[in-house]
Structure formats: C-alpha cells, structure tokens
Assembly symmetry: C2
Homo-oligomer: 379 residues x 2
C-alpha cells in the first residue's frame, strides 16, 4: 500500500541562545552537541525514517542552510529542502510545506504536475496525506516510544478531521515552555481546552500540580485537507497567497513563485495563527524524554554529570573546587577550572563564553553586542 | 677600540607558572605576551644590542630550544647558543658561559684556539672581559634607563674586582621576590650586606619601609677574572671541571666535552653558590620598570587595565559585571565574561585555564595532573 505519510522538519532557526556554540553559519540544529557523531537535525531525520519514506521527508529552512543540510543528509535531494527567502515564523513555513506536499501527492497519484492556473481538488480523497511537523533541534531520548506515539498520531489524524499536537508530560514546573491544558478525561488523547504562554514560576507550579497541563512540544500532526481548511478559516491571506501558486509546486517555477510571494506573508506563528483558533484540536499526552534544548540549562539538566555535578561536553576537563558547571570546548581540548560554580564555559571557533547558568538569558545581548562591536565576525 | 663586553642570556627555564600559555615546547621566554610582535627573549636581546656586539651575546639554554632561538634571533649563529644537556640550575650554566667567553676572548686576541690541554692564563689582562648575565624572560619598561644602568655597571666592573648585582627599588611589599640588603650609605652603588630568601608579607613590609632592601633582579655584572676567581673559591668542583675543558671552547670538541661533563655538575644556583659567599659583592640600585613576570598576577599588575580593572592580552574581550580579570586568548579570538571577578582566563593551543588570581600557585599542580592524566599531550 502507498505510504501517504509526510514529515515536515522545521530547520530555519538561528538558535542564538547557544552562542558561541551555535553561529549564524551553523545554528543549533546542525551541531553535534553530545559528541555522538550526529547533529540534532540528523537525529531528527533518522527518527522519522522508519515511519515516513525518505522522499516524503521535507526540510523547511533558510536558503543559506540548504548546502549544509544536503551535506548532513546526503540521501536527500535538493527538491526536498524547501527554502524560505525570508524569516516569517512558522505559519507561512507550514503553509508552504502543505502546498508543496499537495503538489507531490498530485504527481504521485496522477503521474503529472498541474498545469499553469489549474486548480487542485482538496477534497479529492486520493490526494489526502498525513503530515507530522516537527522542529529539527529538539532532543528525544526514547526513540522507540517516540515512534509508537507518532505512529498512533498519524493513524488518528488519517481518520479524524482534527489537528493534533503532542503534549509532553511535565516533570518539573518549567517556565521556559508554553503549556497546553487538556479537557477533563482519562484518555491520553483528548481535546485541547487552552494553549498558554510561558507561565511564571508560581503558575507553572499550579499547572504541573493540576495534572491537566502538558508542555507544548511544537510537534503537530494533521491530514492535508484539515490543515488546509484551518488555514483558509484562520489565516485566509496566507492560504490564498499559496493557493495562487499551487499549480507550480514541484516544478521549476516553484522557486520563483516562493521568491516573489513568501516575503509578502505576515510574520505569524502556527500556534497563534492556527492552533489557538482552530475548530477542533486534540492533544496526545506523551512521555519520551523530550527537551527543546532551548538553553544551556536544559542541556545541563539532560547531560551526564560527574560526582561534583559538572557536565563536560566533547572535551576533556579537570575540575578543582568547581561544581555544577557545564563545559563545552572543541573536541580534544582540555579545560582546567578552579573555583567555578554553576557556570557555562563554552568555546567554539574563536569565541569563549563564560557566564553563570542563571544568567544565560543574557546571551542574546552578548551576541547582539558582538555584532555591533565586531561587525558579525563572531556571530 | 675593541669592545670586550659580553652578554649571557639565560633561557633554559620552563615557566610552567604561565601554563597553558607557556608549554614545554614553548616556555615563557619565547612568547609574545603583550602582542607587540616580539617575544620576551627577542626583547631581551634587542635591549643589549646597543651595549654589546651581537657576536658577543650568548644564550644558554636547553638543547631542545636551540632551533627556536635561532628562528627568533636570525642574526645569531648556532655557536652562540650554548646548550645544556641537563638542567643544573644557574651556577653550572654561568660557569659554562664564562669558560666559553674565555675561549672566544683568547681567539679574538691571539687569533687561534688553545691546543688540547693548553692552559689559559686567567690573569692575562688582554683576555679580561666584562660580562652582564641576565634572564631571558623578564620585562623591562624603561629601556633607556636600563641601558644607562648596564653601561655604568659594565664600566664599574671593568675597573673593580667585585661582583655586581642589580637591585630594583621596591614599589610594594612583594613576597614573590628575594631581597638584597645594602650597606648603609647614600650612593646608589654600595656593598651588599645580605641576600635574603622570599620574605613573608610582614617581613616584606619591614624590608620595603626600611629603605635598605632592594629586589633581587637576577641581573649580574662582573669581569671574567673576578667571577672565575669566585668560582674557584666557592664552587671549586664546578670551576675545576670546566678548567679541564677550557682548551676546547669554541672548537668542535666543545659539544662532546659539555655532553660528558655538564650532567656531573651539582644542581646549584649562582645566588646560593657564589653571590652569597663571594668576598666582594656590590649592588647597584636601579629603577627601570622591571618585573620578573613570574606570575599571572605580576603580568596583571603590569598591564594596562580598562575602567573595570580588567586586563585583556592579545584577544578581544567583552566584560559584563566582571572586574579585575586577566584574559589571554589566542590573537583574534573573543572572550565574553559575565560575573567573573579577579580570575585568570587563559587559553592556548587546546588548553583553557580558568583560575582565581589568588590561587595561581596551584597551576603547577594542574600541569602535573594534566601530565599524569593525558601523558604530556597538554604540557
């Protein structure tokens, strides 16, 4: 039977929070944080391979990362990397991916591309597809459980005209994540009651203790017809702009169309533009050792620690009177720390950052100052 | 008139206190600490050029640094680098240099080398020479004043059979230096009363307040006949060992002789073995912005500071809520520090050290541990 599952991996982020490890030329998703020999992007792609044929995996990114992606995923071809000519947040990015998938599905089913100006019938059941959308730069520790959950989710959205999001069972009152409140019930798959912004510490505690709130993972599942419908209802401007170019998806005209149209899209997230407003949204509770690796602190929490609670990534380190640090130097280097507590020590490509873990939200400022003072040399 | 001034630069030190900046393969004297484009050794040689013809400047070092020296001082020839086959402290090193200078002087005056077994007449006035001995790894800020003092000192020892040492006018109660007590008087050149070891903080304060004590700079001046005489009186074992090979100095036999004999010398310093026991020792008070650069702390003290008392050597740096640090990264690199006070941050060739300035005496231990754990890879 034809596999009509598709996967969209979002890899356009800049990830300045991991500076100087992540750089404009090599953001977080392209880095091998744990020294496993695979970048976060490579791990993400590999995680989907058993569920989705490689030719159905698409990566949406900024054009400047296309070569890097094809280098890291050599069995992917250039047409699978959808290039955004401008940064417009996740809604336009996903609208582009669904238009492209529609074009691919049409070609697979009817053996030809659409003609210029030809309309596609979105209710044609043969053209439907199930799509999982996932960030490229998250960490997932239990890959088997991840695959089981995604498989179940794809099956659910193939049979139900609803949007589905994965909610992670919270393990601590994290203030760095958005939360999803479920409707009351017993099932691990329920309707969503509300999406919330990142809470303060007190509220996060209430959320976690209530048992009704899950972390918003940014992993979405839906079928093509349903997401298309929700775009038309909630972001009609974006939906109609892409509708005008549907016919050229998968053809040599696609790039020109995107170059012209994409920058005219409003800058809006899929959460705010679609998920929070959609008619029917479900959430599936999941627990597979997930982290968005959004901060050095979360990387620290996830990493193996020595007896003094120090984390050493990739390099060698000697700690004297030093506790609770995270140290990441280039492979093969040696760090010697004396009298350092709860610090980030990270060096990459000519930049050394030393900063308390508790102050890491300032890293964006450091990056911005470095840009101002050194004209992008260290960004 | 023939210039019979000679200069002996001692460049055999390992300088592990500046690890990881200094390494076994490139100790402190070979480093350009201040980013001036010249190593401490190059600055030392240049400082003597106006006083001593380049062919009268000798460098005594370990054989493993010979190539590096000839690379750094390209107008010096290989015979001017005297190689110690083993580390035996400063007395044997200086005994070797004076024997070698005697050979050079003989050849200049009589146009030939000595024959095997031939005795040299040390009282032959034509063969006398004035010698200044100096470490290769000190910093001197006021070079004009330095030259004036050395010129005066060479003149003094050419006319007086006494050993002369330079005593630096102390500017603070430093506990990292030895002190020299002068005999009472008004002159800036007086007889030495005593040499002292490094004092504790209380004693250092008394020394400095008394006005009678000077820092022992390790810069010595004397004439050849006088130092030879003092070696015979105070370290006869070493003096006689070199006397047996005097005839071969400056010939192709010199290296074999030194290979055989040098390692049999006792390990003893010129201060302890000769200066403290010599019949007549004078000290000349000097003040030319001197530091032995023995520690990161002394380097910090001497370096230009920003408004927050941070010192940045060679690299770029951005300081946030950080005061009193000394940061030395490879040229062109950027350091970003947040919440760091009075720390050493030094990186070189794959090793990053972060240590409070107040704990820098532990660096030797770090180096030793790195040797044990990584088999010399980082030493």
């Amino acid at each position: 039977m034809k596999n009509n599952n598709y996967c969209v991996i979002m890899a356009g982020g800049i990830g300045s929070r991991f500076w100087p490890f992540s750089r404009n030329s090599r953001p977080k998703q392209f880095l091998d944080f744990f020294g496993t020999g695979k970048s976060l992007l490579q791990m993400t792609v590999d995680r989907f391979r058993p569920l989705v044929p490689i030719e159905h995996i698409l990566i949406v990114t900024n054009v400047i990362y296309k070569d890097l992606i094809l280098e890291q995923i050599p069995d992917m071809n250039g047409s699978q990397v959808l290039c955004e000519p401008a940064r417009r947040n996740t809604a336009p990015c996903i609208a582009y991916a669904i238009a492209h998938i529609k074009g691919l599905a049409y070609q697979e089913v009817y053996g030809r591309h659409l003609q210029e100006g030809e309309q596609v019938d979105w209710d044609d059941e043969k053209l439907n597809a199930n799509i999982v959308v996932a960030p490229s730069d998250h960490l997932i520790l239990q890959e088997d459980e991840f695959r089981r959950v995604i498989g179940e989710g794809l099956d659910f959205v193939s049979k139900n005209d609803t949007l589905l999001t994965l909610g992670m069972k919270p393990t601590r009152p994290e203030t760095g994540y958005g939360y999803i409140q479920m409707m009351p019930g017993e099932s691990s798959l329920r309707k969503v009651k509300t999406f919330t912004e990142k809470p303060n510490a007190d509220l996060a505690k209430v959320f976690v203790e209530s048992g009704e709130f899950l972390w918003n993972s940014g992993i979405f599942l839906w079928n093509l017809r349903t997401i298309r419908h929700e775009f038309l209802s909630n972001l009609p401007e974006i939906a109609q702009a892409f509708a005008r170019g549907e016919w050229c998806m998968g053809t040599e005209k696609e790039e020109d169309f995107i170059q012209q149209m994409f920058p005219t899209c409003p800058n809006i997230s899929i959460d705010y533009g679609v998920m929070e407003k959609a008619k029917s949204v479900h959430v599936m509770m999941a627990d597979f050792g997930w982290s968005d690796l959004g901060t050095w602190g979360s990387l620290y929490d996830l990493s193996e620690k020595d007896a003094e609670q120090n984390v050493t990534l990739k390099c060698n380190a000697a700690y004297y009177d030093s506790k609770g640090n995270i140290v990441a130097l280039p492979e093969g280097h040696l760090a010697v720390l004396r009298g350092m507590q709860d610090m980030i020590v990270a060096e990459s490509d000519g930049v050394l950052l030393i900063c308390p873990k508790s102050e890491e939200q300032q890293i964006r400022q450091f990056v911005s100052d470095a840009e101002t003072n050194y004209g992008g040399k260290f960004n």
